[in-house]
């Protein structure tokens, strides 16, 4: 504030040149000073202190300290709006995650089921190798007398006794469509010529299977009748590696069920 009150310090003697502002300032800076200077110094110290304090506190993040009520309410509103939005988003994302998880789980279950079914069907259709407990039946005899009749009966009885997988001579997998034909050299099974001795591997309950072979008028006595010999071994592990290539049915089509 330009204080236009008259300077109370006595003017220089009349006649002497009136000092201009610059010389007055320089003189004041050189002189140690008077009472007035001490007062000014005090006030300036207060000013410097306050200014530095303000600058310092302004540098800190005190946006909310000393803010007006309206501003604070605005901040709170903004924050709660933002958190609401975020919460909605979280809920939505969690829902998506749950549904995805459910999806994946049901898909995995379906896949598991399908795989089990494929395994079962593959074993039944003879398209996959199989392993399990069972019996190994060795049938030896003269090719002239031992043939389709006896083998066919033997296979029937094995099936009746619950054989799940049957293989002859480690070469031919016996399935539903298997056909046996007598030839001079041996037996033609599904186009493969097999010669005696015939080794029949069957997977199933070993005890039941061997019992099924050995009853009056059964397979063993039948082979005995034509001068052959049957040897039945119960085994904990029968390995069937021969497989049958699955064929696509030409005429039959599945009927829709249900």
């Amino acid at each position: 504030m330009p204080d236009r009150t008259p300077d109370r310090t006595p003017e220089p003697t009349p006649g002497a040149p009136v000092p201009d502002g610059r010389t007055r300032l320089l003189t004041a800076l050189r002189r140690p000073g008077s009472r007035a200077q001490i007062t000014v110094a005090l006030l300036l110290a207060v000013l410097g202190f306050a200014a530095v304090t303000q600058v310092h506190s302004n540098g800190r993040d005190d946006r909310y300290l000393g803010a007006r009520q309206g501003d604070l309410i605005q901040y709170i509103n903004n924050l709660s709006l933002a958190s609401q939005r975020t919460e909605t988003e979280i809920a939505k994302l969690q829902e998506t995650r749950d549904s995805l998880r459910n999806d994946a789980e049901s898909r995995r279950t379906a896949l598991e089921l399908a795989r089990q079914q494929a395994d079962t069907l593959g074993i039944l259709a003879g398209t996959v190798p199989a392993v399990g407990p069972g019996v190994r039946i060795t049938v030896s005899g003269s090719p002239a007398t031992l043939g389709t009749n006896q083998l066919l009966n033997g296979l029937e009885e094995l099936r009746d006794a619950g054989a799940e997988v049957i293989e002859i001579n480690d070469k031919v997998r016996v399935v539903a469509q298997t056909s046996l034909t007598d030839t001079p050299g041996g037996v033609l099974v599904d186009g493969t010529l097999l010669k005696a001795p015939y080794v029949i591997d069957a997977i199933g309950d070993p005890h039941t299977l061997s019992t099924a072979m050995d009853f009056t008028g059964g397979f063993i006595s039948e082979v005995d009748d034509v001068g052959g010999k049957v040897d039945v071994q119960q085994r904990d592990r029968i390995e069937v590696v021969s497989v049958r290539r699955p064929g696509t049915p030409t005429y039959a089509k599945p009927t829709p069920t249900g």
Partner: protein, 110 residues
């Protein structure tokens, strides 16, 4: 000389102590500092004009600070604190500019 030393001492004191501004003072301190600056520049101009008086300086310094704080306080009570603070800063800024122009004329003759 002593005046300049006083300013330096105040600045150093503030730098070393780094005091926290009390909450009740926070809205007023920036305005008060600007008002005091205005008083200081006015005093410097008066000094160069040869009409400086320490009593007047003290009174103008204190009253400047008090009035600035009062205006801010009043503005806060009336709900226009922010706008009124801006207005005070603008007015003081204009005065500081005109005072500095006068000082410049004295010192640089330009």
């Amino acid at each position: 000389m002593i005046a300049a030393l006083g300013l330096l001492a105040g600045v150093l004191l503030g730098l070393f102590l780094q005091p926290d501004v009390p909450v009740w003072l926070q809205p007023y301190l920036p305005i008060a500092v600007v008002a005091a600056l205005d008083a200081v520049f006015g005093a410097l101009r008066a000094f160069l004009d040869g009409i400086f008086d320490d009593k007047v300086f003290v009174v103008s310094f204190v009253s400047n600070v008090l009035i600035a704080a009062l205006i801010v306080y009043l503005g806060d009570k009336l709900g226009v604190g922010g706008q009124l603070s801006t207005g005070v800063i603008v007015v003081l800024g204009i005065r500081i500019f005109s005072n500095v122009a006068a000082i410049r004329r004295h010192i640089f003759y330009a």
